[in-house]
């Protein structure tokens, strides 16, 4: 299967949506308009979209605390997400979860996670469901380089390999876990090297190249669907913002981020590739830019004017029936 014109436009739209969503949230947060803890995904778009373009709504993903990109790559409703970030009643989680806990099971998105390493064991469960019920679905755990060092992650990889579960472990290596550099904290230097220890195929991908990610994920997903068990993918990505919004980033070198934005922007790289190959025109992509810009603007306006939850909402959702 090759990517059709429609696929390429969709991939670009999803990446652009993530970028604009994140850039806008950055501004709103800095203006004091948004409550809570926010971790932005900007720079890593090609990873989420490249992987998720190979998935259906029935294929589950687990995410990290940097979860907006994974949600949008799985086509979670933008308005529902923006309202959630503003803590509104009609947010996708009723205002109860916020940025760190956005989930949309109807789209196969099992939730952003406030606990690093929480996702990989959970996604083994989604894969177990798929295997037990014979649905042919696959499950993808997105984890960071920091999260690759958690015991839960190691256990999940061994578990998935032993039970031959249809899982893809995607490690998005942006070089840092908060302030700690991954080349210091990951003992084997490249996370992909760990695949061998768990007896699963491993592949390292340049995460600024949508096509490389898409290709690698396509192969891993096909293997999982065919009963071939788990795959480990290490995706090398840049992180354009701080660890969280408000981070002064003193642990980063002068000019580091500017250089990343200049030379490692997956959206620019995608545009150059498809235009040079004559697959899409600049005008096609400009139109997407304009539409997404309007969409994000509208979502912010809607969120700001939407009602907050009320006292009656405080006690609901603890149990199935309260």
């Amino acid at each position: 299967m090759q990517l059709s014109r429609e696929d390429l436009l969709l991939a670009y739209r999803r990446m652009r949506r993530i970028r604009d969503f994140e850039d806008r949230v950055h501004i709103e947060f800095a203006a004091g308009e948004m409550p809570g803890f926010v971790h932005l995904y900007a720079g890593e778009e090609a990873s989420a979209v490249g992987v998720c373009m190979n998935l259906t709504d029935e294929d589950m993903i687990s995410s990290t605390h940097r979860g907006h990109g994974h949600c949008l790559a799985k086509d979670t409703d933008v308005n529902g997400m923006m309202l959630e970030l503003y803590g509104r009643k009609d947010g996708i989680c009723g205002g109860k979860g916020g940025s760190m806990h956005i989930a949309d099971l109807s789209k196969g998105m099992m939730g952003a996670n406030g606990i690093v390493g929480g996702g990989p064991p959970l996604i083994c469960g989604a894969a177990l469901t798929a295997k037990t019920l014979g649905t042919g679905n696959v499950a993808v755990a997105f984890t960071g380089d920091g999260g690759s060092n958690q015991g839960t992650t190691f256990e999940a990889m061994n578990f998935a390999a032993v039970l031959k579960l249809p899982v893809i472990f995607v490690f998005e290596n942006n070089g840092y876990a908060e302030t700690t550099a991954s080349h210091w904290s990951v003992a084997c230097k490249d996370i992909v090297n760990r695949a061998q220890a768990f007896g699963m195929p491993g592949i390292s991908v340049e995460g600024t190249d949508f096509f490389a990610v898409w290709d690698a994920a396509r192969e891993a997903v096909a293997r999982a669907r065919a009963g071939g068990g788990p795959t480990l993918m290490e995706v090398k990505v840049p992180r354009f913002y701080g660890h969280f919004e408000g981070d002064a980033e003193t642990y980063r070198a002068e000019g580091e981020v500017a250089a990343l934005k200049r030379d490692h922007d997956c959206l620019k790289i995608f545009r150059r590739r498809v235009v040079e190959a004559g697959l899409l025109s600049d005008a096609d992509l400009d139109l997407v830019d304009a539409e997404v810009g309007d969409e994000i603007e509208a979502s912010v306006m809607l969120a700001k004017s939407s009602p907050m939850p009320g006292p009656e909402d405080l006690l609901t959702d603890v149990y199935v029936r309260y």
């Binding site: 205002g95 760190m100 406030g114 060092n149 302030t179 700690t180 003193t250 907050m308 405080l314």
Partner: protein, 340 residues
């Protein structure tokens, strides 16, 4: 006395004890910050800056940045403690203690007892608790009742900068595993803190205010809520005693009971969720030993039995307030035992 923030007070405690005793080390994720990165080393000093500057003075042998691996961090701290070091492990948010719970409650807490008194485990585990910061269900819990439940652990929950410094120094000098919990809304609170080192013994409650009508017990951020409630009540002609137990294990029940014997009324404010928490524990113990002294029902003011909500609108409703505490006091006073 100089005024300092809660955060500065904790930072000073680290400096005093690390200078005094070369066996004291600190460890945790981003504990200095920036390791292996290209910018500044000692960039963070832990996520709240409590350990800032330690790396510069004591170096990487004693200020240990770790990979993101809580079970290994706590297990290693506990193992080091039983073999001659005195580690202070920073776990960031108390919620993350879930990841390494075995190392705390099956290992650290049990060594002294299981080994017939032949082991000591002088480890301090610091972590942040509390709601009010819009950090939602996985970064806002007040988990001290869970640790209080486990024999062998000491549980310390300071409410002001002076106590924070003295209790942390005691925690580091203590030969038992100490869970040291810091409410995230207290870091910026200022108060008088001496420049030199001093230790506050565990199991001694602090009486912050003396009044003859009701005893209010509160911990951490809730101490301020209780003090505000006492002010409100005073304007309405009701005088409250406010007690901060400071440590829930050991618990200074005597000070609470003595006060209840004078006032006859007890209200406990507890930010942890309402079932099996510190409020229920203190209520039961007071009813057990001092039922004769109670003139009205013991009242407990807590959040509802829900996870912590994200939305500011809901989180504000979730937390106990001075008004809710004052109302609880008034209910206890109105429904006096034996009254018509």
């Amino acid at each position: 006395m100089p005024k300092k923030t809660f955060k500065q007070a904790l930072n000073e405690a680290h400096f005093h004890e690390m200078r005094r005793d070369p066996r004291v080390i600190v460890m945790g994720e981003d504990i200095s910050g920036g390791i292996g990165a290209s910018g500044e080393m000692d960039a963070w000093g832990g996520s709240e800056g409590v350990t800032k500057g330690l790396y510069t003075e004591f170096g990487e042998a004693r200020v240990v940045d770790t990979p993101l691996s809580e079970s290994a961090i706590i297990g290693a701290a506990v193992g080091a403690a039983t073999t001659g070091l005195r580690p202070v492990a920073d776990l960031m948010f108390a919620d993350f203690l879930g990841v390494c719970f075995d190392q705390i409650f099956n290992q650290a807490a049990k060594f002294r007892y299981m080994f017939g008194g032949k082991a000591v485990t002088p480890v301090v585990i610091r972590a942040m608790i509390g709601a009010g910061f819009r950090t939602a269900a996985q970064h806002s819990q007040c988990l001290y009742p869970i640790f209080t439940h486990i024999p062998g652990l000491k549980v310390v929950i300071p409410s002001n900068p002076y106590d924070a410094k003295g209790l942390l120094i005691q925690a580091i000098r203590d030969d038992d595993p100490v869970i040291f919990l810091e409410h995230k809304l207290l870091y910026g609170v200022t108060g008088e803190v001496p420049d030199g080192p001093y230790a506050i013994p565990f199991g001694e409650a602090k009486v912050l205010r003396d009044g003859g009508d009701v005893t209010i017990v509160a911990l951490a951020l809730m101490v301020q809520v209780a003090m505000d409630a006492a002010e409100l009540l005073s304007k309405r002609g009701i005088e409250a005693t406010v007690i901060d137990p400071r440590t829930t294990s050991p618990l200074d029940l005597d000070t609470i009971v003595e006060s209840v014997e004078e006032t006859g009324h007890l209200v406990i404010v507890d930010e942890s969720s309402p079932r099996c928490n510190i409020a229920t524990d203190i209520a039961a113990q007071v009813a057990d030993v001092a039922f004769h002294a109670l003139k009205g029902p013991i009242k407990m003011v807590t959040p509802p039995h829900t996870p912590v909500p994200f939305s500011p609108a809901l989180e504000d409703l979730y937390l106990p307030s001075a008004e809710k505490v004052a109302q609880a006091v008034e209910i206890s006073l109105r429904s006096r035992r034996g009254a018509a």
